[in-house]
């Protein structure tokens, strides 16, 4: 058996011949990539698929010799022997080889919404590279991820429409509805994984219901915290006008949320160091109102404020009085570039 390096040279040329052979089935071509994407996405990693490719390629090479001599491919036998007989499905293998690169991209991306594979796909697609699949079935059968589709009663046609394999799970139905359902399930599970990362203390919990429970509790607690904190701010000083708070909060919420989504949830690492001038000004305004309204405020902090304003210090040390000393682990460093005391 030849396992040559020349496949690179020969495949393109034979691709032309094979495509010519597949012209009658060309209508199914456009549908195939879509359903193949769905199949791939449903199958998760394309590793088993590429393992499949090794065999069909070499066997396709076997096929090329008789094809080059012009011998027409013999009609397919549904239950074919593992011997490299020219099975009917081989003409479509180069198509698969072409699509392999695309599949690896599909495999890593999140599963695209599956267009229900065309109805003729499952029956015709079942007679796909049987020898290759049988061989790989032994490899991946136990994995539970992908399983060979049982060729459901050979159709006995001569030509194979170039449908894509649809990988069914072991023991599960393969009609279009359950495929779409399965893809949807996978999407939901992917989102649940992300949510589990977002919600602290959820990674050990398994089972959709429990995870949802945790998420609900977490959202409730967050909303309650917002209520409590806003109550606290309201109680701070009746004479402070919080009307300008929303513009300041917009900056901060956007920034912190952006950081959160990028780095995962590590609020403690967020510092003020990137706070925009605008936001800083608002905070200073708020605090100024606070201080002017509150006579009992310690003068130490007030003098610190003036010192900082005069000096235009770029970084505020964390050893400052409690006013700027945040209790959070991230020491609050405020970068006030150009604060104009209003």
């Amino acid at each position: 058996m030849r396992h040559p390096s020349p496949p690179q040279q020969e495949l393109p040329t034979t691709g032309g011949e094979i495509q010519a052979a597949l012209i009658p089935a060309g209508a199914a071509g456009p549908a195939a990539p879509a359903s193949s994407a769905a199949g791939r996405g449903g199958g998760g990693s394309g590793g088993s698929f590429t393992a499949l490719l090794g065999l069909p390629t070499s066997q396709a090479m076997e096929l090329l010799l008789p094809r080059a001599t012009g011998a027409p491919p013999p009609p397919p036998a549904p239950a074919s022997a593992p011997a490299p007989a020219p099975a009917p499905t081989f003409p479509s293998d180069p198509h698969l080889v072409d699509r392999a690169a695309r599949f690896s991209a599909f495999a890593s991306a999140s599963p695209s919404p599956p267009s229900p594979p065309p109805p003729p796909a499952p029956p015709a697609g079942k007679r796909k590279p049987d020898p290759a699949d049988r061989a790989s079935k032994g490899k991946s059968a136990k994995k539970g991820k992908t399983a060979e589709e049982k060729p459901a009663g050979g159709d006995g046609e001569d030509e194979k429409p170039a449908y894509v394999h649809v990988r069914a799970r072991r023991g599960q139905a393969t009609d279009s509805h359950s495929l779409a359902e399965r893809a949807r399930r996978e999407k939901i599970n992917a989102r649940m994984e992300l949510l589990k990362e977002l919600v602290p203390g959820c990674s050990k919990v398994s089972g959709t219901a429990l995870v949802l429970d945790e998420i609900i509790n977490h959202v409730q607690s967050l909303q309650r915290q917002v209520e409590y904190l806003s109550m606290r701010l309201a109680a701070v000083n009746p004479r402070v006008d919080f009307g300008g708070l929303d513009s300041f909060l917009t900056t901060e919420c956007g920034r912190i949320a952006g950081l959160n989504c990028k780095n995962g949830i590590d609020l403690e690492q967020v510092t003020w160091s990137e706070m925009g001038v605008h936001g800083a000004r608002h905070l200073m305004q708020l605090q100024q109102q606070f201080w002017h309204g509150d006579l009992a405020h310690p003068h130490q902090a007030a003098s610190q404020w003036e010192k900082r304003v005069d000096g235009h210090l770029p970084v505020f040390s964390s050893s400052s009085p409690s006013l700027f000393g945040y209790d959070l682990t991230s020491s609050g460093k405020i970068a006030c570039n150009s604060i104009t005391p209003s």
Binding site: S110, L249, T250, C253, C261, L283
Partner: protein, 145 residues
Amino acid sequence: MMMASLHERKRAIKSSADIAMATARGAGARWPRAILAALSSSSSPPGKARRCKRIVRRCLRARRSSRDGGGGAGASSLARSTAAMMSSGDMARRLVRKRTKVLRKMIPGGELLLDEVSLLHEAMDYVAHLHAQVDVLRRISNAMQ
């Protein structure tokens, strides 16, 4: 200077925070629209939201903050097997449906979402922003003491 009652002030603060959070999120999700629709009608509506939008635009221009959405396509077979063990998943399905309903109520605009996938997506987004909101409010209130 406002001499309104405590509760009014708290409500004003909270609505400011919510408007800020919703505006900061932008148009990529559904819940911000629900928040802005609910809140904007009551208080000084166009002023606040518009101001927030201007600020967001400025921030985005200054610093291109691109957010990656996560994209893991792994099937949690563990979850599936656990669910299968629970009396063939019937009970689990009922619980899941109940909790999905609860989640829908808690997330602003969740009732309008039809499928579970986008509901989970919205929930993810909303939780991330709630984290930010809580953090910011806590820092402010600490600074105010």
